[in-house]
Amino acid sequence: MQGLKKMRMPLIFLLVALLFPLFTDNQYYIYVVTLAFIYAIAVYGMNLVGGYTGQLSLAHAGFFAIGAYALGLLTVDANVPYWLAFFLALVITTVIGTLVGLIALRTKEHFFAIYTLCVGYIIYLIIYEWDALTGGVRGLIGIESPAAIGPITFDTGISNYYLILVFLVLTVIFMKFLTESIVGRTYVAIRNSEELAQTIGINTMKQKLISFVISTFLAGLAGALYASFVRFIGPDISYTMMTFDFLMYAIVGGFGTLFGPVVGTLLIVILTQSLQFMEDFRMIIFGPLLVLLVIFYPRGIVGGYQMWKMKRAYKKKQRSVDQGSTYEGGD
């Protein structure tokens, strides 16, 4: 019962997400929310390595793009069956992620951030310049929708919505089990102090690498889903700005919290899409918001809510203890 109560909010959330397409005929709304789901999966990756493990990886959009381009190229150019291509896209992203991680993680803090920023830029430049493979600035068009699984087809907006929702829910469950376990505690210990983590017997390099690789896997997953959902990809999806967008979703929702990515991403994506004029100029508001958040409210929405609940629970407990003693005194 206790566990169910704790999960009440997320379950309501899930219910709303499941019913949402039934209450709107507007394909555009469904499209926007689906896109937000895809980004949220990528943000979960960033959140794991940045929010939990404390390593700010700024190559995230690069891995998102690798996933997307791998799927696009395999299906369009190489005619590989969709789900096999999907699987291979994940493998490719993860392998590249592992190689990058092995080298990048030898650097620390600022160096790591700069290093990954540059890796992201290299990925962008390669996609942009390697015309023969990637189509360069023209991008890749005509990527196919996900192939049918048995009787279930994914050629409509709604079916894609549910498919991607399933992936998002799986991602959240994965993250929940991971971060709430002793394995996840290891990551938090590294974020808190790498020095201390090492002296309590944690192989920090290995653990950082694992969390980095998972993060690139999630970025690749989101990228592959993006490619077949939007069906057109260009070099822009690998650009630094995309990484910064992901970062912003994570910070607003709550860096290092379980539900921060989904809350932050949905909120900002829906907000910017519904206020059309904000599309290009959203950073006028979100740039300063990012600054204000890290100064005054670094936990974001979800983190702030958790903190408030925790303090309240503690005060309640204190109060009942205090009351207990007054009653004793009264007797």
Binding site: F286, L289, I295
Partner: protein, 288 residues
């Protein structure tokens, strides 16, 4: 031979600009240990202020640069006061995120006010001159000369003035500087001002041969980071030498390897260096 000479000359011009940008970045890093990702946005704003002063107020080029120096320097100082100072005890990841927030804001603001178009900056040095078999614009010569003059002035400022000495002292030991009565806040603000001013100068002299647009700072800042990693984070001579090395390598690479990938040179260099030396080329050794 002429091609080589021409490319060496171009490399020197580009390197001058890189050095100035890297100098500002390295000064701020040396003192506050902040990798200021927003530095590229300062560069971009610097370009716009000079251009717009000339276009809207009709002031001459050099007055435009002077206005730009004051505006961007003040902007950088405000950044220090309003953002980085409140974050000085926060986890290091917060500085970086805040800097990214500032970068996004400034870029969008400029785009909102002046649009996303690519603009050319007029210059009184548009004429060309031929010597040693190569033809160059006076602007390029001006860039090289201006950069050297600015670097000499900066050196004089750091070595010969009290505030400059305080900046150097603080970059070596913040706590110690505080103990001997240096006002750490003032030094931090001043450092940011100087770093902004350098970015404004760099953008103003480079813009006539490049273009002015909201994203003009992206590549420059990334390369400046590469330079200060090569030259040693916080090192002034390292930033200068690193800037020229990168500028020359790039223009030679563009000629003899591939123009499309010449922008990659810096990053490949960085990846190679950090792969072999994770703490950077000139990591400060210490008992900590």
């Amino acid at each position: 031979m002429d091609v080589l000479l021409q490319q060496l000359f171009n490399g020197l011009t580009v390197g001058s600009v890189y050095s100035l940008v890297a100098l500002g970045l390295t000064l701020v890093y040396g003192i506050l240990h902040i990798p200021n990702f927003a530095h590229g946005a300062l560069y971009m704003v610097g370009g716009y202020i000079t251009l717009m002063s000339m276009a809207l107020m009709g002031v001459p080029y050099f007055i435009g640069i002077a206005i730009s120096i004051v505006v961007v320097g003040t902007l950088a100082m405000l950044m220090e006061r309003l953002v980085f100072n409140p974050l000085r005890h926060a986890p290091p990841i917060h500085d970086k995120i805040a800097a990214i927030g500032i970068l996004l804001f400034l870029e969008t603001l400029v785009q909102l006010v002046w649009g996303a178009d690519y603009r050319a900056m007029p210059t009184p040095f548009a004429d060309t001159i031929s010597f040693l078999g190569i033809t160059v614009t006076w602007q390029r010569i001006m860039i090289i000369v201006a950069a050297v003059v600015v670097m000499i002035l900066l050196q004089l400022f750091l070595k010969k003035t009290m505030v400059g000495a305080a900046i150097v002292a603080m970059s070596q030991n913040r706590e110690g500087a505080f103990l001997v009565g240096i006002n750490a806040n003032k030094v931090a603000m001043l450092t940011f001002f100087v770093s902004g001013a350098l970015a404004a100068i760099a953008a103003s002299i480079a813009s006539p041969i490049n273009l002015v647009y909201p994203g003009m700072g992206h590549l420059v800042i990334l390369k400046a980071f590469v330079i200060i990693i090569i030259g040693g984070m916080g090192s002034v001579p390292g930033a200068i030498i690193g800037g020229y090395i990168l500028g020359l390598t790039e223009s030679l690479g563009a000629t003899f390897i591939s123009a499309a990938y010449s922008d990659l040179i810096a990053f490949v260099l960085l990846v190679v260096i950090l792969t072999m030396k994770p703490q950077g080329l000139f990591a400060q050794k210490g008992a900590h």
